[in-house]
């Protein structure tokens, strides 16, 4: 394999389309959109001029109410950019350490796309146009409010947006023709991301309160042109 698998996954994450298009409704004072993707209340978005807004309310795939950080900024419309996911790879222990020390600001390092470091792949010989295939386990996680959220709140406010982020990841793979089209994939959801022990105590895997989903899929990549 010419490139390490973790770099390939990272590039797919970087290629996720994190933009949505909106038009501002003067009457209802909100921004109409076709897709809300993995947008969440309280998270920041930016317009094409770099103005920052905080999402105050939204209805999935309908509209967004966004409050400008700078009060002189125009109403939110046009190309709207959602936060880029933070990519990490590694085992639970190493990923937790690296993710913890990178910054104390959790909002700057969420949502997380964590490629679980259990890298095993199958390469193919001369007879095949396929370079490799690999079973991936990738976690899409975001911060959650363990004190105030009921289980349904975790699902509505975090699991649902993270499922949308999975679809963004799948779309990123599908748009790149060097990957074989994905026939199916599996999503496992976590209202709380961690390990629940026998005595009922809940232990986080990463040192933060997170919810989200796990994506399991078979990634197949074609061989690329030879380089002389």
């Amino acid at each position: 394999m010419k490139q390490d698998l973790s770099n390939i996954i990272h590039q797919i994450v970087l290629d996720i389309d994190n933009t949505i298009e909106g038009t501002f409704d003067d009457v209802l004072n909100r921004t109409n959109v076709c897709k809300t993707k993995w947008i969440r209340k309280g998270k920041k978005v930016t317009d094409s001029d770099g103005n920052e807004y905080v999402v105050a309310d939204f209805v999935t795939d309908e509209w967004i109410v966004a409050v400008p950080v700078n009060v002189s900024a125009p109403p939110l419309e046009g190309i709207i950019t959602i936060g880029v996911p933070y990519f990490i790879t590694g085992t639970p222990i190493s990923a937790n350490r690296e993710w913890t020390i990178v910054t104390n600001d959790v909002t700057a390092k969420t949502p997380i796309v964590w490629y679980l470091d259990f890298i095993r792949f199958k390469e193919f010989g001369r007879e095949s146009t396929i370079e490799f295939e690999s079973d991936l386990r990738i976690f899409f996680l975001d911060e959650t409010d363990v004190r105030n959220y009921y289980t349904q709140d975790h699902r509505d406010n975090v699991v649902k947006p993270m499922t949308e982020l999975v679809h963004g990841f799948i779309d990123s793979v599908e748009r790149n023709r060097v990957f074989k089209r994905i026939e199916d994939f599996e999503i496992l959801t976590f209202s709380r991301f961690g390990v629940e022990k026998e005595n009922g105590m809940f232990q986080s895997i990463l040192d933060a309160d997170l919810s989200g989903v796990e994506l399991r899929l078979m990634l197949v990549k074609y061989k690329e042109n030879c380089k002389c």
């Binding site: 038009t23 146009t129 023709r177 060097v178 089209r181 074609y222 690329e224 042109n225 030879c226 002389c228």
Partner: protein
């Protein structure tokens, strides 16, 4: 020439360098008319710098334009058996190679019946295809320093609509035969590195229609819609500005023009028109095409 035999030489030399670019799995096709209206054969002049590929897709002259199709699934390019004449002694004599066929499927959102209608019209045009593989290489026929589209036996062009089922999405199945005289040894490719573009990224133009037009001597108001959408609500052509339109009469292009979009997809173009003169408004926005002609 691989179709027959070359009597002027012996066996051909068979060495090869270490790194030979080879095409991978076919991803999409770019349809190109074989001959432009001015009589020239459409091709890429390989002695010149690479062309602006987006200009080829957005070419105003449709007889010179490139028409990229969406990405295919389940592509097969089988070749029929070669025909030999066999004598009673068992001796075989080569008659001709079998024809090469193409079969591929356009899935889900690429399988609109509207696109089917546009593809069905292609059968009446003499056209060829540039093949694009999953790595974004462009494959054509290199002859005398030019890369030509691979000629298609256009009466064989057969797009078919397949309805969705419980287990499969809707599809357009596209099948055709290549020209039976095409010499496959002339196939060469242009890589994304050489071209500066991954050819999988090229997309065809979208037709825009002018409806509900209302003309006066000072302006023309119209709704601009696409062929796609629902029966009641075609998708609107929104967000265009004055720079996306061109006004012309028999004397050429007229300027300046002012175009305003009052509500989504409804535009007013303002200009001092002369009575009884014929005018044409053309969309020149990248990725779109359409025009409307009227007499003021």
């Amino acid at each position: 020439m691989s179709l027959g035999c070359n009597c002027d030489s012996g066996l051909s030399n068979t060495g090869r360098p270490n790194c030979v670019p080879i095409q991978s799995v076919t991803s999409k096709l770019i349809l190109v008319p074989l001959k432009a209206n001015d009589g020239t054969l459409n091709s890429i002049d390989l002695s010149l710098p690479v062309p602006n590929w987006l200009d080829l897709v957005n070419e105003l002259d449709a007889s010179k334009r490139w028409f990229p199709l969406p990405a295919f699934e389940n592509v097969e390019l089988p070749k029929a058996d070669t025909t030999f004449e066999e004598a009673n002694s068992g001796r075989m004599v080569f008659i001709r190679q079998g024809k090469r066929s193409f079969a591929g499927e356009l899935w889900s959102e690429d399988s609109s019946p509207t696109l089917l209608g546009k593809l069905q019209n292609n059968r009446c045009v003499d056209f060829g295809v540039f093949i694009v593989d999953v790595n974004g290489n462009l494959v054509g026929s290199k002859v005398n320093g030019f890369l030509f589209p691979i000629p298609v036996d256009n009466p064989s062009f057969d797009p078919k609509y397949m309805f969705a089922t419980d287990t499969t999405t809707s599809k357009i199945m596209v099948a055709f035969d290549f020209d039976r005289l095409f010499d496959e040894s002339t196939m060469y490719m242009v890589t994304p590195t050489e071209a500066g573009i991954n050819f999988n990224e090229l997309e065809g133009l979208v037709d825009v229609n002018f409806i509900n037009t209302s003309e006066t001597l000072t302006d023309i108001t119209f709704d601009a819609v696409l062929d796609y959408g629902t029966a009641y609500n075609p998708i609107k052509f929104v967000g265009a500005t004055s720079a996306d339109f061109q006004l012309s009469d028999a004397g050429g292009i007229l300027s300046p023009i002012m175009v305003t979009e009052y509500v989504d997809g409804t535009y007013t173009l303002s200009f001092a028109f002369s009575a009884t003169m014929q005018y044409t408004i053309t969309i020149i926005k990248t990725g779109f095409t359409g025009s409307y002609t009227w007499t003021a």
